[in-house]
Symmetry: C2
Subunit: 219 residues, 2 copies
């Protein structure tokens, strides 16, 4: 049924496409909740402020299972995207730095709903070490490497001040973790084979200020 | 000196380009702090995991002021990007929903550093109304419309539960606010002329899980 070929996919897919897949996934969840069985590229495009051609191009990676005139089957498409994005399994995550943002993320329900399970917390503040956040006891950063390995951590979220971010990332990499999400406003370095993403919460505000200043027309 | 034309720019610039400008801006800030006077497209590309051709294409919007062999002047490029993104002025922002994420954002220093000044807070919880967060007293959501207008709010950040997001956005739009950043995992509707961005903090974790599952090679 599908002409999808995973090695082709790997070569061609861009960062923006992966992000759009995340957006389609969320839109499909919302359509599923509403009870819609199919969705057209036009409808998906409208809800995501994209062009129907862009949506069709992105979804063509999954083969030609959309039917002209009927659209895409909501649940099947959701399952395929979920599989591609690795959302059909659980990921064990450690969070370093239990400050304002860090504590808020521990309670952020979207993470666990998508299979991102925070199972370890680390801090260097003696007042925080040993305290309990949503059932997880904060560990001393001194034991980072051993505890990351023992807990089988696959991803690490960094919420520490700028000046501590790079050496902690180095430690995390040494412990064998290959995926890091960084909330510190720092430009960090990781070796080849390690995936680093920076979460810049100002970025969308910058998009908005750009839009207001330039009276940008969203497509 | 520059061949930059603002109406051309408005037509051509895409969402991904605007986001890349945010990333260049941050990289340039970091280079400025290090004391670097110029930067090549190759260096910028390496730090942002992009191709030099992409960087040159993005920056060509700003005219041909990069010098072959010498690169771009760091401070001048930073100032131009800052101007395009509207970061060379202050924006008055209201935040609705002072829960975990909301409170963390009030303390998020990156916002104010970039000119995004949270000046009003709203909640519907009687225990929160009247309480003080970083010098801002939480207002009753009942007075939303009047207070948004009186305070000259230009952007609103929504941090409320999914079920409350749409009607609050409707109220915000009625109050004349044209830029909304939504943290609720909901697909929201706004009329033409209003800019809505959704901040999905799971998105970068989804990128990482995609990368681990597909052993994606970052370019």
């Amino acid at each position: 049924m599908s002409s999808f070929n995973s090695s082709d996919f790997k070569k061609k897919i861009s960062e923006s496409t992966i992000h759009r897949l995340s957006r389609y996934f969320r839109a499909l969840e919302s359509l599923e909740k509403k009870g819609d069985e199919t969705v057209s590229s036009k409808e998906l495009a409208r809800s995501e402020k994209l062009t129907p051609a862009q949506v069709r191009k992105d979804l063509s990676f999954f083969g030609s299972f959309g039917t002209r005139g009927l659209g895409y089957p909501v649940i099947e498409l959701k399952i395929r995207i979920s599989h591609i994005l690795g959302l059909d399994r659980e990921w064990r995550i450690a969070l370093i730095g239990v400050g304002n943002i860090g504590s808020a993320l521990v309670s952020y329900k979207e993470f666990s709903r998508q299979g991102f399970k925070i199972v370890k917390l680390f801090d260097n503040d003696q007042r925080k070490i040993g305290s309990n956040h949503k059932g997880i006891v904060v560990s001393d950063i001194k034991n980072l490497s051993t505890e990351l390995k023992d807990a089988g951590i696959e991803m690490v979220v960094i919420c520490v001040p700028v000046q501590d971010a790079q050496y902690l990332v180095d430690d995390v990499v040494k412990a064998g973790v290959r995926a890091i999400l960084n909330f510190a406003p720092a430009v960090l370095k990781v070796p080849d084979g390690v995936f680093l993403r920076n979460e810049n919460m100002s970025m969308e505000l910058e998009y908005l200020s750009y839009a207001l200043v330039n009276n940008h027309v969203q497509k």
